[in-house]
Symmetry: C2
Subunit: 319 residues, 2 copies
Amino acid sequence: MSTRSLGIDIGGTQLRAALVDPHGRVLSRDRRPTPADDPGLLVRTLLEVIRSAWERTGERVPVGVGIAGLVTVDGTVRYGPNIGIRDLPLATLLGEELDAEVVVANDASVAALGEQRAGAGVDHADLVLVTIGTGVGGGVVIGGRLLTGATGFGGELGHVIVNEGGRPCPCGNRGCVEAYASGSAIGALARDRLVDPMTMSRLRGLGRVAGPEVTAAAQDGDEVAIEVLEEVGHWLGVALASMVNVLDPELILLGGGAAAAAAPWMLEPARRTMTQRLVGSAWREAPDITLAVLGDDAGVVGAGLLALGAATVGGSGTA
Amino acid sequence: MSTRSLGIDIGGTQLRAALVDPHGRVLSRDRRPTPADDPGLLVRTLLEVIRSAWERTGERVPVGVGIAGLVTVDGTVRYGPNIGIRDLPLATLLGEELDAEVVVANDASVAALGEQRAGAGVDHADLVLVTIGTGVGGGVVIGGRLLTGATGFGGELGHVIVNEGGRPCPCGNRGCVEAYASGSAIGALARDRLVDPMTMSRLRGLGRVAGPEVTAAAQDGDEVAIEVLEEVGHWLGVALASMVNVLDPELILLGGGAAAAAAPWMLEPARRTMTQRLVGSAWREAPDITLAVLGDDAGVVGAGLLALGAATVGGSGTA
């Protein structure tokens, strides 16, 4: 059994790799642009990254991959819109080429495992990670193991419905929390408020109003921007209440760039709304909501730890 | 290790007990009225039921208890409104009196385990049971084990929020699925429609319009009743979509009297709405939604199997 493993995190723009130890410490890194819309090149790039790591370590260390998209329990990427791939049996292709088992899972899910094993969630066996970037993703760890679900699509926390029939979501439905609490949604909610010509805000007249502009304006004390981020926190709290009523985790982590930027205004409303809506709120302590700490390393660390085995539950990971 | 166990299910009116084998088959039964609003009498009744079973079997078989209410992972009933108890350390009290370990959990959760081990869910390691009676309860089985959550309040599926700010729920919040899809909600939704004097329905003029009257009228072809049950199915589907996006179970079971009665009109809209709202609905099969089969036995069977051990995940049941 190797004492190290290689974790790879394939995002829409960057492909990161890291050699990690069993405690989730990063020993070395590799990074390249993600080849988009070219599954063949993606696979060749991955093979190169893996073989180069094996050469450097002098050992065929186990490999785990997290990728942005819907990934089945047998490691097929059914749909990865950011990377432009569809129905790519990534685990099988890599496994055959390398003659080694490669585990492949959703990027936000492996990030949840990374945070639980080596980040903000150590000492907590049951946690939820909600990642807030352009979209909203997530992962669920139960009893120290990653919930993959029966098909592998478990932990799609961005599509918990908070307001049936409400704002349109990129997934094609309406009212998902991603439509209210993503970086894109922050921009959209702010632009909606500016439609009223009586709304006074520093955001008015900016060429572009997206998440970063809103948090920057909030930093400057802009009331419209602050109200938007509080509203985002409220909707996030609604989704978290549903998640906690189902899963009852010890801890909720928020990851992703937009979460960190919006936290000063978003976190307290999220806590308040969630706590009010929990079953038996008078007879329980609500789980803490806190920021993830591993940043861009969460994915590679989680993917590396996943490769060390016995880390999933549900589907093929069934006990 | 005993090959039999005693399962007890404490509901608002009935206290049922059954001796079960490891396959969840019921070997014998006992039943009495639940002593309400009297924790002391409840405990004495339970001791009597257990000792009598031990005498009959000539063996101190393991004991599991499911009870309607919020139950912590250490078996304290924090709040059991139907039985009129609060902060009753039931597992500890029974354990000390009997000098034996007694496991205590939520009634709908143990019913989920019962259905998974010996009912409609055999051959499925990952399932969700939603029970629809006066209220909406539920239980989650992952990898063949019952999800208790960190505090024990996991699987409170009736309080998944489907419509933030919507109909008032008995829990004190608004917009929970229990406010749209319980037996009580069926009656309330029908009464709302009758407020319009132009609404033609057989329900008009009945002294009482509750769940059973609505399903009876639907049976007679009453369009208003049918529309109400379809609406209930729609809202149930919204909640199921959120649950599936989080948990990705193989199977969804509906239990409880109201579910069985309303199924002919409710099930198809629930399936349709849920399927539409799943992440990646084009790239996956939606889990089946089907009726539970154990009826009133689900609780005693699940409680009995829970007593045979190693059946929970999350909280103290952590792997």
